[in-house]
Symmetry: C2
Subunit: 176 residues, 2 copies
């Protein structure tokens, strides 16, 4: 199964909706430190200011997305486990999945818990597995490494494609 991805930020066109105080800041002040220590600000921690996240941080937003992803992963793991040895539970889970969206993992588990006692045990297992997966199995260091590599590859590819496109157009023009 290929996972087709959609970015969860439909209101991207409202980027300009910053508070008035921010708009009057000079551009040199548009870098915000997350550290309260002045010394640390001076030496290490001058980070780019990311507007529009209110009290949450980008890390928290990303964690929310991963939280949903882990629920999805847990459902896949359990589905694969019970498919061969507990056809009844597998049938329950498959039917429930066909009627309920996994977009919100917590809501999905809450509904599953209340469906029937058999569904409840499935839901408790999902809670347990997603927690174990998040804390033990998911390779966080690997995530960082892969994301960083992906960033380099994408940036290089985009620039290379642009350069190839513009330089291959030029000789044709000059040959005319």
């Amino acid at each position: 199964m290929d996972l087709c991805a959609t970015l969860p930020f439909p209101q991207i066109c409202h980027l300009g909706s910053k508070p008035v105080e921010e708009r009057s800041l000079p551009s040199t002040l548009l870098f915000k430190s997350r550290s309260s220590s002045f010394n640390r600000i001076q030496t290490h921690c001058q980070k780019m200011y990311v507007p529009g996240f209110g009290e949450a941080s980008p890390e928290k937003k990303a964690a929310y997305q991963l939280h949903k992803f882990f629920t999805y992963i847990a459902v896949r793991i359990i589905s694969a486990q019970i498919q061969s040895y507990n056809r009844e539970e597998y049938q329950d889970l498959t039917e429930f999945l066909s009627k309920n969206s996994l977009n919100d993992g917590d809501e999905f588990c809450a509904k599953l818990m209340r469906e029937s006692p058999r569904h409840k045990s499935l839901a408790l297992r999902i809670l347990e597995v997603r927690s174990a997966y998040c804390k033990k199995d998911f390779e966080w260091d690997n995530l960082r490494r892969v994301a960083s590599k992906l960033m380099d590859e994408s940036n290089t590819r985009l620039m290379r494609e642009y350069v190839v496109e513009t330089t291959t157009a030029t000789p044709v023009e000059s040959e005319k």
Copy 2:
């Protein structure tokens, strides 16, 4: 701005689409190790088998999502930076955003690069900022901590709500 999130897995109902060989495996073999070393398998690395990711890993899928998120973050950072001191560029970016989706960050940058020379410089800046954000500013350890905390809180909340719901219903029944 509040970010409303949608999970990128619409085909979740096809969880049963595993290869035939897998279906015939006994449930005890449904744990797969990612390590090639037998000793490490025995001592540390018995991970839950996550089906359906083909050649990619869950970490890679998560990295793809974060890659898009970083492009979105970079656009926000740059938009905030140029809003006060370069109204012309800010106008360009806002207009371009209103016409083009940021769902696929790479595609967005590729289009922006080809729009005009001024847009091109904006695109190059986005590539630079998203890379710097991914490698330096994003707090990966914090992401892991927040995701883990969120998991505990959600699981506790879901179970507490269920227990409260079922135990508050019982006394009313018994009073009758």
